[in-house]
Point group: C2
Chain length 486, copies 2
């Protein structure tokens, strides 16, 4: 069995905690682990690391790798499949199938979302094993969640006749997929016992899946086969970009599942939630006696049925009811609970305004550590830079800015033009404009420096990289598929 | 006539915009001017600058002086009367009366609050002139606001028999002062036409007022007379501190007005508001079509009857109703509109926690400019310091910290031990621990520096001042009363 974990989601509905470069799957929501860490952890009893693949985009691949290495050890570089651009789930799963197919055409693909929550892991694994049986007999199996309430925010699947093959008891054919219903319809679905929430989790044999793509999405299939031929030529990055550029975005439901005659459903009672908005926080976190979920530096008086999420900054709330308050260093959301789905409108508005509060947080992770923008003005910018023990930034220069560095903890090894020297706590140095430089932490404890940039242009893209431990100077040439497992 | 403007209020109900060191009277609320600037501006047509006195505390005296000089020009040093500690209004007005009495025992004192709003200035000035007539005939006159709604948040005054003296038509004796009523009582008051809101504005002859203090608060009177004797001895700062320490806090209403037989009331229909909480913002600011008052960097969808105050940080609001959101760099308030009075509970809680978000803002004004704390950690602190053209900080040293200064605009003149030198934009310098130093802006444009402090203790009180343009090294010896006007 192979896991394909879809981790390309942009998670706008958890803004301002989620950002384009820090989507929901990378966040800790109701747990000490992030959602993607939890997702990997859940399947590890069934599927070994080298058979777990995460399909995502270049922008967050580094963070995913860092999170998985941090949590599970080892290198996760060979586990990442990179979509060149987001085209919904069908192209991403097609690309993933090409990779699994190279390893084992008879392999069973377990398709999971990186940003969902599942309370009952044992029941989940049992469902996957049941689904595997049907997948071996060439069904495209979906895990259908037993509804616990007349939810109007999910699509539903109607179960049909039981599968009659031996060993498939409890598994049914899918009668049809249905869109998000209105409340009355949802109440009928719940009462009937025949409808299940569409969780977006699937189990199928990779050979069957590719056949169904060929039948129902022939041009995607043809593109994937052409791409497959390019593998090993050194041109695969270009080939996949060319393919994805011309593809229409299509969901796997619409492209395959609603059309195939081979869809089957395994009923799953596993405590699942898509954690689809701030109101879904209650699926993964306990409420207090007043129905609130409150975390961080909060002073509350008398609020009820509300969510108040803060970090270090102080948030004071008084007498709120059914209100969501989310505070981050650069943006605060205050939202009526019944409008949680409209958070995405704020993100759209920010894009329109060409603001940046939907893109990144003030603190941005890097393979060598992280930086936090403390202040931005027209001609200067201040950052706190944390470099992990033994790590180094790229050897680089800037056309438009000079940099003052003050070390506030640890020791920095600085390459500055043709000199290399150490700068200790409470010492400073100056990097002139256009000078090639490098910052490195040769020590055992994290290095923290305060950087004051001066210049006429202070964008992150004013950087020329000459050498980089993390190969970021030629990221565009990276193959979308990892090397095959040994 | 003399104005005595009471400006000692701590304005906790406008937290987090107001702070102990930045109370409501110093804020711009519904205007480009601050409330104290508006208060002074209102009386200037009747009373010349040298007869306007502001009674306040040492902590905000500097900011008041700066604001008044900035708005009206000239020096306002001789207009400040300093309470050594807050003991409610009776002691503060007694101290002010001693000062006015030195200039003119027959003088008429117009007592005003620095943090109220008045829309109809012309009507206000007419009321003061009417009140002056009664004050000349030894009445203690209060301006009673004609109620426009059954307000339960104000005290009321019941007007009694008209004053029969010639020239006092329209002025009545006060029958009694009443506490804040419940809604039903307030409705009765409104319907009767005999009750007025207690605005806390008074007009009286200083001689009459001191006589009434002698009669109703004899120990305060005795203390004031003893203090008066100390004036000119160089001991007056000590004398006033000793007096205030032993005084009980008493309001002028309770101490004098409710007891005197000489209270009179001038009805005032002047568009007055005490701007007593965030809900009172609508008394001074227009609402939009949805009943909202929104300002700053806000994205709102579909909120109604709400207040959303932001500054540079982004605040997004969706579907709020009757909610108050106030965002500042270090703290955010989200409050149900009907709980606006409870904001003070948050301030109390912050005091209990020994937090600092009720004390000062991230940006703190100084006579030479201002500083903003950008980041605080255990062993370092980062500030942006802005020094006005021609201004200088005190000549100082620190026991526990060294400082790195990076100039990001303008030119700094730096005294560092026994050297004096200039540091230009994009240059830096280093002040070692315990070294006497001084920062000065010799240029024509504001100087901005980024200061990175390193040390084991980084409190603002680790400062030894050797010389200061603003005499802050002996603030405690400053007399509570200014020099007499020439």
């Amino acid at each position: 069995m192979y896991a394909v974990i879809m981790a390309g989601g942009s998670g706008t509905r958890f803004w301002p905690l989620s950002r384009e470069k820090m989507p929901k799957q990378l966040l800790k929501i109701g747990s000490e682990d992030t959602l993607i860490q939890l997702t990997v952890d859940r399947v590890l009893p069934l599927i070994k690391q080298e058979h777990i693949f995460i399909v995502t985009n270049q922008g967050i691949a580094g963070d995913i790798e860092t999170q998985l290495t941090h949590r599970f050890g080892g290198s996760w570089d060979r586990n990442l499949i990179l979509e060149p651009e987001a085209k919904n789930t069908a192209p991403a799963l097609g690309l993933s199938a090409v990779h699994v197919n190279r390893i084992d055409p008879e392999g069973i693909m377990v398709v999971l979302s990186a940003d969902h929550a599942i309370k009952n892991v044992k029941a989940f694994l049992a469902c996957v094993k049941t689904a595997e049986l049907a997948a071996r007999q060439d069904y495209l199996v979906t895990l259908g969640i037993k509804p616990s309430r007349p939810e109007t925010g999910y699509g539903y699947i109607k179960a049909g006749e039981p599968c009659r093959e031996s060993g498939l008891s409890g598994i049914s054919h899918v009668e049809r997929f249905v869109e998000k219903p209105d409340l009355k319809t949802a109440q009928g679905y719940l009462a009937s016992g025949q409808y299940y929430w569409n969780s977006g989790m699937f189990v199928w044999k990779v050979r069957t899946f590719l056949q169904e793509i060929e039948r129902h999405m022939p041009s995607l299939h043809q593109g994937l086969m052409e791409f497959q031929k390019s593998i090993g030529s050194g041109r695969e990055a270009d080939a996949i970009r060319a393919l994805f550029t011309r593809l229409d975005p299509v969901s796997i439901d619409y492209g395959i599942m609603e059309k195939t005659g081979r869809a089957a459903i395994v009923p799953a009672d596993i405590g699942w939630s898509d954690v689809g908005s701030w109101t879904a926080l209650e699926d993964v976190t306990d409420k207090d006696a007043s129905g609130n979920i409150i975390s961080g530096n909060v002073i509350d008086f008398d609020s009820t049925d509300s969510v108040v999420y803060a970090e270090k900054r102080l948030v004071a709330t008084i007498g709120l009811n059914n209100t969501i308050v989310v505070d981050t260093p650069d943006a605060t959301l205050v939202c009526s609970r019944d409008r949680a789905q409209d958070v995405k409108k704020v993100v759209e508005e920010l894009k329109k305004r060409k603001s940046e509060e939907h893109l990144t947080h003030r603190t941005v992770n890097r393979p060598w550590g992280n930086y936090t923008v403390l202040e931005e003005a027209e001609r200067y910018k201040i950052k706190r830079i944390v470099v992990n023990s033994g790590a180094k930034l790229s050897y680089q220069s800037h056309h438009h800015r000079s940099e003052h560095w003050v070390v506030v903890s640890g020791t920095a090894r600085v390459t500055n033009g043709d000199k290399v020297y150490d700068v200790h706590t409470n010492e400073s140095t100056y990097i002139p404009i256009s000078t090639k430089h490098r910052l490195e932490n040769p020590g055992r404890v994290p290095l923290q420096i305060i950087e004051v940039q001066n210049g006429e242009y202070l964008g992150e893209d004013d950087i020329v990289r000459f050498d980089d431990d993390y190969n970021r100077h030629d990221a565009k040439k990276r193959s979308p598929l990892p090397e095959l497992p040994k």
